[in-house]
Amino acid sequence: MPVESETVPVGAPAPDFTLESIAGGEVTLSGFRGKPVVLVFLRGFR
């Protein structure tokens, strides 16, 4: 069964982060303030 994240429950502020994009440049979650963001955590590519 799917479960909820223990550290990031619904209603909590989303922890901010900055990562490098494959398109080049850095992307920061809080930079999207004002629009909804869907974060998809992938399992990997193989």
Partner: protein, 101 residues
Amino acid sequence: MRDGYSEFTRRGAEILAIAPDTLGNAREFFQEHDIPFPCLPDPDRAVFRLYDVKSSPISLGQRPGLFVVDGEGVVRSAYLGWQQWEIPRVEDTLAQLDSLA
């Protein structure tokens, strides 16, 4: 999710894919499969840990996770699967975005 991307952008939403892999591998995969949304490689899995998206022996490695964050930066949906196929359907995630609007 790739085919539904325009449905997300039409709703003013962005998809960020976070990958537990290197920039080179992620770039190769996304280009090969022509995936239109941004991919952010996280080779150290720092953001995976931040969001409690752990790896687990019973899912044979990394678990999938999907979070919906609203325009104020608040988590509206937090989902961790145990298996790769246990991610919410595109329709369900779109419905969730509609409910935020």
